[in-house]
């Protein structure tokens, strides 16, 4: 990219600077630390300069926004055309509670919905299951049947908003309920836009909410891919998620590598199921973490776009440009928030959100300051949303595309990130792909090692967390917290039992029998799941029926 002669001259000058100017100062006062590293413990040099770019090929490495390999962004206009979607993850208590929070967030200028389900739903249990006791509505909204789903989206036209649903093990069942609500609202399926997370591999790797073992789970995913490519063409069928991998303690490189390796596994599964790659790949999207190390994160998003474009074009021979584009959602890092001096979290979130915007995210969730303590209050959730709005409207960060492009540091980090992540992917390929790597516990162990290493660094004071291992305060100022009423569980259990009493149980039984039978064949399960949802079969009943034929999965409990 640069004139070789000039670059050599700069290198010589840099060496001179190091031995004269810099050395003189260092001899008098050494640097603060013997080594500087990112939060992932990757070493960072004192200065990056054009000498690192001698071999840099602008067209190959960066190109222009909206052009292969999309390092600088997937759209030609980026935020000058349209701002990112401000999509706050919300869900607690009953469907009524969450419906009210949704309407509040939309009234505050939020532009898309994102649904958090409570743990029993995430694991495929009804609220009256013994496994659900004490958990109902605690960490998300309780959804047992179509009845709850109708209430959740009551007064929200599904052709006017896009909805993201964080659901994985039972993604197909919850998606079927969403489709059934759309039918009741009179919205045709081809008008529906949104995302189901539906990324089961990262469940085994990091988030740990599963229903079935890996192989049948992959089959359900390919059923969804095939069904949507025919009937719900605007729906994002998988949100391939690094977020939870990072929250579980991975490094930035591991987050990038394992997530893209998951993506490779899904594309391969779709192709193996007979769906042409360009028919489903444009509807795959990504979901990354925005962690605390500003430049490392920006580099990660840029590297991700370039890697995916190359993998889709070269490895999978996709021809449609839309198959090459990595579109992604970002959430700021929950695990970086501190219970100590919780107001400081507002600042952490702002920095992390800025990194996501400078990295070219398509949508963003900003965490609330109180999330290490409980689900967010309305007040805390509003500040989190306003943080995005301040970045969008006041900071100037949205004025120019990929404003960090060309930074010697960021370009160097982007290249290194890609190189290290590709090395991981080669290792996973050698194991036979991510499904096999997961069965062997490989990514799980790598992440646990990284998490332990980081905790040791924090305990030793080598990594600083303000308010935790430096700048502590003795007296903490408490902040108000959201409490989930224990009566939610009672009311929810009563509603689900009433649903069971009022429906046509003969029809439900025949739907469940048909599902079981189909699960033993190659038939696509989606139409049958939709039938079951329409008849108000509950999530737990549907999952139980399929557990009989598909089996269950238990945590290998490695540490």
């Amino acid at each position: 990219m640069y004139d070789r002669k000039k670059v050599r001259k700069i290198s010589e000058d840099k060496r001179r600077w190091e031995t004269e100017t810099l050395a003189r100062v260092l001899s008098r006062s050494p640097e603060r630390q013997s080594r500087f590293s990112t939060v992932s413990d990757e070493e960072i040099a004192a200065l990056y300069s054009p000498d690192i770019m001698e071999e840099f090929d602008y067209g190959k490495q960066l190109s222009f926004p909206g052009e292969y390999p999309y390092t600088r962004g997937v759209q030609p206009t980026m935020y000058r055309g349209r701002l990112w979607t401000m999509r706050q993850f919300a869900g607690y208590g009953s469907a009524e509670d969450t419906n009210a929070r949704f309407k509040f967030l939309l009234a505050q200028g939020q532009t898309g919905l994102s649904t958090a389900f409570h743990f029993p739903t995430l694991m495929g249990y009804d609220s009256d299951s013994p496994r659900a006791k004490g958990e109902v509505g605690k960490c998300g909204v309780a959804i047992d049947s179509l009845k709850d789903m109708e209430i959740l989206f009551e007064g929200i036209p599904l052709d006017k908003v896009t909805t993201s649903m964080t659901i994985n093990g039972p993604a197909a069942m919850i998606f079927a309920m969403y489709l059934a609500v759309a039918e009741k609202q009179g919205v045709p399926f081809d008008k529906l836009g949104g995302t189901i997370q539906n990324d089961i591999l990262k469940e085994y790797i990091a988030q740990h909410a599963w229903v079935f073992p890996p192989d049948p789970s992959m089959r359900i995913i390919t059923d969804i891919i095939a069904y949507c490519s025919d009937f719900v063409p605007k729906w994002n069928t998988i949100s391939i998620s690094g977020y939870h991998i990072r929250e579980a303690g991975s490094t930035a490189v591991q987050e990038l590598a394992f997530t893209i390796a998951d993506g490779i596994a899904y594309v391969q599964a779709g192709i193996d199921a007979g769906v042409p790659v360009d028919k489903f790949a444009p509807r795959l999207s990504y979901f990354f973490n925005a962690h605390v190390d500003f430049f490392e994160e920006i580099a990660k998003y840029r590297a991700a776009r370039r890697m995916w474009a190359r993998i889709m074009k070269e490895r999978f021979k996709a021809r449609d440009e839309n198959s090459w584009k990595l579109r992604f959602h970002t959430q700021t890092a929950g695990c970086t928030l501190t219970a100590q001096q919780p107001m400081n979290n507002v600042v952490r979130v702002a920095l992390q959100a800025l990194a996501a915007v400078l990295g070219g995210t398509q949508s963003l969730h900003t965490n609330s300051m109180d999330e290490t303590l409980a689900l967010p209050t309305e007040h805390a959730a509003t500040i989190a949303l306003r943080t995005q709005q301040i970045i969008a409207e006041e900071s100037g960060a949205a004025n120019s595309i990929d404003p960090m492009g060309g930074s010697f540091l960021v370009e160097k980090l982007t290249d290194e990130m890609e190189e290290k992540a590709m090395a991981y992917i080669a290792k996973i390929d050698a194991m036979g792909g991510m499904v096999n790597a997961v069965k062997r516990g490989y990514p799980q162990r790598e992440i646990a090692d990284a998490a332990f290493h980081f905790q040791r660094l924090v305990d030793a004071g080598a990594k600083k967390i303000v308010g935790v291992n430096c700048y502590e305060m003795q007296e903490e100022v408490p902040i108000p917290l959201l409490k989930i009423d224990e009566a939610v569980e009672k009311r929810q259990v009563a509603r689900t039992r009433e649903v069971r009493r009022k429906r046509n149980s003969k029809k439900v039984t025949s739907c469940l029998d048909a599902l079981k039978e189909a699960s033993l064949s190659n038939a696509n399960l989606m139409p049958l799941l939709l039938d079951a949802a329409r008849e108000y079969a509950t999530l737990g009943e549907i999952c139980d029926a399929l557990r009989e034929t598909m089996g269950t999965y238990t945590d290998p409990a490695m540490f």
């Binding site: 496994r131 100590q340 290490t372």
Partner: protein
Amino acid sequence: MASAAARIKETAGRKKPERKVRILIGKPGLDGHDRGAKIIARALRDAGFEVIYTGLHQTPEMIANAASQEDVDGIGLSILSGAHNSLLPRIVARLRDKKMGDVVVFGGGIIPDDDIPKLKKKGVDRVFTPGTTLQEIVDYVRERVRPRK
């Protein structure tokens, strides 16, 4: 490190060598956040305790059964789902049913300060909040948990 011979000599004087303290790390409830549980399991193992980890998604009954089968002296429970007020006391109750009320039960996770006195009243010995160092937990276990008779 003391040589094997020296260690044999050291224990030979006692009547009955004290066995290693056994700790069960449990993940009650449905939440999948096991980063903390795994880190603490490793730290306790590195500190010389015998550690058994239940894995995720355990009911109170499953944890009490594991505690009894493994004959543990202490149980560390990690919970981030918000269901601590319901699940932790149920675990203590199941242990009492099994005549294991003397097992030291401690916990951590996302647990608001206001809930801690209630949990202590119901038999949870200590609740660690976010920001606790591994050393603090190791020191606590070393001081508080003794081999049961």
